[in-house]
Symmetry: D2
Subunit: 356 residues, 4 copies
């Protein structure tokens, strides 16, 4: 079980407002496992990482993200606590990890980066060791030899870089002072990444295999592309939500909510679990969907393959994702029980594009 969080803001935010101060930040989520109903991996105490881009455009600072990671529990890392109080950024990725494949090691910590690009994964490629060789055979040497650790996630990132490269974009290109690679080509490369993994899993599948959970997030510091995906027609993917508004504010110590003064999306959050206790702050991203952030605007597109359900009235079960600790315990139960709130999960599965 992992958790991730993405922030993109018109104004920079103090990292502490995302990571350490909210009572329900991903770090405190990982600490306060009572809120979870995981059946196997209840605690995200296996390491964490945060990556951010510097706010000023300064050639000396370059275009690459700054990544800080550790294998000790996030809630007790004094360096993280201090850096979070002293660092602001417009674009932040954060990841808390419970090891599923790959031993505990800083080389296995998300986010992974490659020049200006940053990548993280929440989930698991099923039977990864069975298809690992297909990754090698498919990939160019440049990305294959770049792999340092042993996780399925890092291999998926290498595959993404390979896909991007075959689309004619050099992932090593310096994007400092530009608007980046553009969200379309990043999205295309990420969709291809999923497509290859899906295909290879199919080729090597055996009776009784579990599905793969492929919630990926990638950014070049400008655009963000995130997937909520599972190789199953009947199960939900790991939970994923987003929230937009004009400001993310702390109205009481440790208590945050999204302020919406108008329809502007000055602040966009994407998270495996809601960061606020306000049910209405969060929209659930439908299973097998790709979310794109471009210029503070959120777009949703379906990922249409054999695992896509055109008939959205057919329910998916969250049993599998829940068994992996990958279902957020707060929003979704309410969505099913609280008649006063709009059924955002199902609504979300219907509307495929949200624009400001």
């Amino acid at each position: 079980m992992c958790r991730f969080l993405i922030f993109k803001g018109r104004d920079p935010i103090l990292l502490a407002h995302l990571l350490t101060r909210p009572e329900h930040s991903i770090i405190n989520q990982s600490y306060d496992s009572r809120l979870r109903i995981d059946q196997r991996r209840p605690i995200n105490g296996d390491g964490f990482g945060v990556g951010y881009y510097t706010t000023e455009s300064d050639p000396e600072l370059g275009d690459a993200p700054c990544i800080f990671c550790a294998t000790t529990p996030a809630w007790n890392n004094m360096n993280l606590a201090r850096l979070a109080e002293k660092t602001k950024s417009n674009m932040v990725f954060a990841h808390v990890r419970a090891s599923t494949s790959g031993v505990l090691s800083e080389t296995n910590c998300h986010p992974f980066s490659y020049h200006s690009l940053m990548f993280m994964h929440n989930g698991q490629i099923a039977n990864f060791s069975r298809i690992k060789r297909k990754f090698v055979d498919h990939m160019g040497d440049e990305y294959f030899v770049h792999i340092q650790g042993g996780t399925d996630s890092e291999w998926a990132f290498a595959l993404f870089l390979d896909c991007l490269s075959r689309l004619g974009v050099d992932p090593a290109r310096n994007v400092e002072g530009t608007t980046g690679f553009g969200h379309e080509v990043i999205r295309k490369a990420l969709e291809q990444t999923i497509s290859f993994v899906r295909e290879w899993c199919n080729e090597c599948s055996q009776l009784g295999d579990e599905p793969s959970l492929l919630n990926f997030a990638v950014t070049d510091g400008h655009s963000v592309v995130v997937t909520r995906y599972i190789t199953s027609r009947t199960e939900e993917a790991a939970s994923l939500h987003f929230s937009t508004g004009s400001k993310f504010i702390e109205y009481m110590p440790g208590q945050y909510r999204m302020e919406r003064r108008d329809r502007r999306q000055d602040v966009i959050l994407v998270a495996s679990e809601p960061l606020t206790f306000e049910r209405s702050d969060w929209v659930t991203i439908p299973t097998n969907t790709v979310l794109t952030i471009n210029n503070q605007t959120v777009l949703l597109h379906p990922i249409i393959d054999e695992f896509y359900q055109t008939d959205l009235s057919v329910p998916r079960s969250s049993n599998f994702a829940a068994s992996r600790g990958l279902v957020s315990p707060i929003v979704e139960p309410q969505a099913h029980t609280n008649v006063h709130l709009p059924p955002l999960e199902r609504e979300g599965r219907r509307r495929l594009s949200v624009t400001a």
Copy 2:
């Protein structure tokens, strides 16, 4: 919240049988926090330590315990996992820690040691910073300057060494090849340690102060002395249990029980939480009691001061200890609900001596 475990056996045990293999080992307890009803510090992911004495008497190996500790979570420490599969001992202390005072640091990891002596603490000295200076003023330089870290527990150990020294026993004496310092003098020094802390807490007390939780364990490799103590007449101390039998066996993978073929106490376990799911394996040590292990025999003595309840029918509340996550969730609820089992908690508070 911390947890501790003590093993003393006529035969050595593979550490894995205590630490890593039992589904309800203190390490898995710390991992699997779903079982807990803590209200503040649900996860013991802040470091751990294990100390053991080598089985052979060998002058080259000496009389000091071997201590292995780390600040990363115990459940993910590969060194611990490997050492536990390859190491046997007759006398083991293990401790899993959630920081209450003292930052996360190897110098703050239990067990602490001094020559042949080993010490650990489950609980917290209330308002320690208010009485810290009294420790300095009371203590001889030798033990004061030996303190490396910042925890109340390490200061309590230094005070214990000072008490032992004033009782005429040099804590640095080599006990290799002997039967150690003897359980009486160790018990006396530990009781004095508690007495000093209690007195200083009283002197500095302010309205509304919380009680101090002083579950201490100390050994010289031969005798073991453990306290379950609280500076309160109305609250229970942090939970503490013991189990004796002829063998601690794994009857199914991960499932252990205490075998009792006769009344021998070849195996003695003391633990803040039961290691087995067998209710009848465990006896609850009454609050404000000192347990002594001498020659595979368990003795219980009351600690009689203003916090002792002579009338055992007056109940203590476990609210405070529970709020600190210091109540084992398994045995005690059953003790109140299961009529088929003898009410060991209350029984325990009556009989003050258990002998084989």
Copy 3:
């Protein structure tokens, strides 16, 4: 043996230019120990710390420094390498440590901080355990209980805070948006700190004692006060140098020099070892001197007590400091051998004030 470095600049500098890129940065010094002639502790692989103040005045960022430290070797810390490439500051402290007292632990890493104040130490209080109790007896509880680790350096910082407090300045005062506490009172408190340590060492001295090496550095983010001090009339203190100029520039990869276009001191560096190979970039601070930086101006004052040498023609030996690895190997030998360069060491001992 430790090393430290102080940067104060009118413009912020990328930390990498101080820490990781210069071939002779303190981190590479610690790595490349061939340059050293230490006799006991040749490698500074025992941990490091860097503290810096954020460049913008922003109430949300506060007045406290951001400190990043680790117990793994600095030259292999990927987090440090990445942060150094992405962080700029006008005021930086950096410290590389080889343990002399106090075990390896993050709580023993310099710089230490307290609200806006930051402190580091290069050297060692001789026979610290003999005078540790005098620290306790002298100090107010507030600073005594704040101590987390076991080093003489952290106790010296607590003593400094106590001195500052007794001079009528609350060390916890928020100095955000102000010019800080003022360099005079900080210097006075630091001189008193040295005076107390000197006095206590004298009181507890025994025949054959080594001298204490007290190179301290303290800042509130505005003024900097640094001492080069030893409790000896005949030995040199641990080496300490400074360099001023208009810019610290990388003229070739890894090669830096101080540019001096005019007499402005836009950049001030203080370091236990020169960071550049240009002999003329560096002025040696005389033994038993305090250096103050105020408004980009360097001031030197003698510390006059029984260890001060009024007759500067009487040489001091560097044997003791060298035996602790505390003599920079590059500048000082040249100072004695190179007739073309002014003899800055001796010159430095004469002129007691350097102003822009």
Copy 4:
């Protein structure tokens, strides 16, 4: 630059006698880098590992080695210091590492293990990224998917396991209570491993490539096979020595020598640098030779391929190995200058078998 050490004794040895107490142990070598003449990587502060087999044959302890490794410097690891004082073994591998390929991570620490087998490497496969894919293509899935980290050494171990498997031996076979796989088949598999690496390096070679340094060591707990090898006709391999005798004794604190009361080889040491300052204790293993230990007997065989020099009077240069810090500074210079001692290096290159 790395260093390794192998101990095989008729009687178990306290690990401290190998690792922490000798002034010239591999850990103190790594600390005390003044003795070295490395030109690039002078300090082995990047992690270490020690692996040993338990002394008793006990089914509960199994046939696998116990491995303890860390990414912090060995000289400051308190767990290692304590374990070394409390652990004895007949068969020990130890490794101190300076990263050349693969980032600092516990997954990159030697020795690597697989069931009863343990492996370490001193040196570097040149241009590993160019031939990495050939490893994948050649290897069976079982060993390919077992790789966790990013070092050439771990890939070489996987290749060795694959070779062993193709020789009809299942590397996962339980050898508890047996005499292991036998030294012949282990030697054959290791020679094949070298042969494959050599061949692939040849296929991908480019003008100006550096040679590969392949000092490998492998054991099943019974036999030991070690190579000293380089893919060059003109350069020496990384240094490697052995010493045999009746006892390895500490004649003064920190000073060790090999006692030889008769011609028995009760103690066999193989080390990249001599552990004692006695020149005559050590025999240099000739370049491109495989050393085998079987039943306390040392055997040497040449590795005959295009890099073997039949004419031993043709000298090899140690420039390349020295530039990597892979030449022991003590024995070899003496070998060339000290006329009173037999020229063991050249002698060693002639006699291909040393038996008791």
